[in-house]
């Protein structure tokens, strides 16, 4: 430790001055809006008068009491789970290959996997619309070999494909980071002690990479459960998840209290996942991004 320096005079005002702008900004335009959202979720709504400021549990009771809305909640969780598993199935081998690839290959793989992050999710989703839609890439290819199938677009599968693609980089980053952290001497020791390459992978590399797998899957799960653009465009008008419900209630039907209640429900889902994550491995959601 450095010897305790003579504290510069006026130190407290300096700290205050440094922190004041960001703190004021966050309190006024982040915490207060969230408080308003939570309060609104307990208000009533009338089609003529808008928000009715009387306390009611009506919004939550209908979300958790109505089969239609429970189904939406279940669909959101299922979609997020499928997206996370699909991204894992695609991402783990890539992360593994990254750890054995030559420097040149590594550069190309990182470029291919990460550079889509620079393009807005709306553009990438539109790309899938052209691939999966009527007269799209898949449709044309199937027609060329004489097969006629229902277009994949506007199905849960299409949404899972789109989400797996959009969220793949987060999973690869997470797993690659934990594979990088493995001391190369450990698998080497295992194989010098006579373990077959498969055995080395199954009992050394895979267990050591599990923290990255768990945190990657949870990140993708929480991002997928709150994704809006991909389910809305690839799922079609009848594919309803929590995020599309929030959008519809807030901006189409203008029922802000109900939209707020859906939003609070979604936040609870995301925070539950994050809570499990911080319990499972310490560190926040973007820890992998920054180590």
């Amino acid at each position: 430790m450095a010897p305790a320096p003579r504290r510069p005079r006026g130190r407290r005002p300096v700290v205050l001055l440094l922190l004041l702008p960001a703190t004021v900004l966050f309190v006024v335009f982040f915490l207060m809006p969230l408080a308003v959202l939570v309060i609104n979720s307990f208000y009533d709504y009338s089609r003529l008068g808008g928000i009715v400021q009387t306390f009611t549990l009506k919004n939550y009771l209908s979300i958790f009491g109505d089969m239609y809305y429970l189904e939406i909640l279940g669909r959101t969780l299922r979609l997020a789970l499928f997206a996370a598993l699909a991204a894992l199935a695609l991402g783990y081998p890539v992360a593994l290959y990254l750890s054995v690839a030559t420097a040149r290959q590594r550069g190309w793989i990182i470029l291919a996997v990460l550079s889509p992050l620079l393009v807005s999710v709306i553009v990438r989703t539109f790309g899938w619309l052209i691939i999966l839609g009527p007269n799209g890439l898949v449709d044309s290819a199937l027609k060329a070999v004489g097969l006629h199938m229902q277009p994949l677009l506007h199905s849960e599968l299409a949404v899972v494909i789109g989400l797996a693609n959009v969220l793949l980089p987060f999973l690869v980053l997470s797993i690659a980071t934990s594979l990088q952290a493995i001391d190369p001497a450990v698998p080497l020791a295992a194989s010098s002690l006579g373990a077959s390459p498969w055995r080395v992978f199954l009992s050394v590399t895979l267990p050591l990479s599990l923290p990255g797998v768990v945190s990657g899957v949870l990140i993708v799960f929480s991002l997928a459960s709150s994704s809006f653009v991909t389910p809305s465009l690839l799922g079609g008008a009848n594919y309803k998840v929590l995020s599309t419900m929030i959008y519809q209630q807030a901006l189409v039907l203008q029922n802000w209290p109900f939209a707020a209640a859906f939003a609070v429900t979604l936040v609870l889902v995301v925070f539950l996942v994050l809570f499990i994550q911080t319990r499972a491995i310490e560190g926040g959601k973007y820890k992998v991004v920054f180590h």
């Binding site: 960001a22 982040f30 695609l90 690839a101 793989i109 393009v119 709150s226 939003a263």
Partner: protein, 265 residues
């Protein structure tokens, strides 16, 4: 630690995944050159007509400028605030530091959609106008955690004693910052500027709620258009965004590298 066949299969699989990763972007750029009036892949013929069509759509050009202005302002303000906050959080210890740290990283875990909805309801409740400034505030808050993080990481790498040395040699706090700390945290600030710009330029979820027809960012304009129409116009506009991303990519690769920006060695 891997057999040659396993490695070959793994390589082939990785190649396919990489292809799928860039496929949507490639498909859009190819489709933007279509001569047809409808979306069909592969395009029946080639032409630049959809790019010409784009120029006839003033609302998209306006949105492009809104996006650029908001992203530029976000990147500068967020990095400036992030630097001040990062210095305070890393260099000083005070009561409530942990609390502030969690406050400033909260936007990371809050879905943008919900923040947008909350901000819209708050602004309306307070009878404040919804305009370009609302967008800017939203984007600054969304990018701040990254700005603070990038600057803090850079600052943690700087030995605090070099500042003390400068101070003990008679430099005032400002001079010590200007000539000693600033050059050392500059890489973190550059990363923050680039990252905040890209994040703001691509943001959709929160912006959907606080965009108005007069101040609508390009991704939101595209969303609203695709929601109603399905024609190749958006492929041309999206391709422009892809070319912008390629420029950003070249800048990142020249300065720090994609892998390093995202924390890979």
């Amino acid at each position: 630690m891997i057999t040659r066949t396993a490695r070959r299969w793994l390589g082939a699989f990785t190649f396919l995944v990489c292809l799928c990763a860039v496929a949507p972007v490639l498909v859009i750029v190819i489709e933007s050159l279509t001569s047809a009036n409808y979306v069909a892949f592969p395009p029946p013929g080639l032409s630049f007509k959809w790019y010409g069509e784009t120029l006839k759509r003033p609302e998209f050009i306006d949105s492009m400028f809104v996006s650029l202005a908001v992203a530029l302002a976000t990147s500068i303000v967020s990095t400036a605030l992030g630097t001040l906050t990062g210095i305070a959080l890393v260099r000083y210890s005070f009561r409530g530091r942990g609390l502030l740290q969690s406050l400033f990283s909260m936007p990371l875990s809050l879905p943008g959609l919900i923040f947008g909805l909350a901000l819209l309801q708050f602004v309306t409740l307070r009878n404040l106008p919804v305009n370009g400034w609302t967008l800017l505030v939203a984007h600054i808050i969304i990018t701040m955690p990254f700005a603070i993080r990038f600057v803090s990481v850079a600052l943690l790498g700087v030995n605090a004693n070099v500042e003390l040395a400068a101070r003990s040699l008679g430099a005032n706090p400002w001079a010590a910052f200007r000539h000693v700390t600033f050059p050392l945290v500059r890489p973190g600030m550059v990363a923050s500027l680039v990252f905040a710009f890209i994040l703001s330029f691509d943001e959709v979820a929160a912006s959907l709620f606080v965009s108005t027809p007069d101040a609508m960012t390009l991704p939101v304009r595209i969303y609203v258009y695709i929601d109603q129409n399905y024609d190749p116009l958006i492929t041309a506009i999206s391709s422009v965004l892809v070319f912008a991303a390629v420029i950003a990519l070249v800048i990142i690769e020249r300065t720090m590298g994609m892998g390093k920006l995202f924390g890979l060695r």
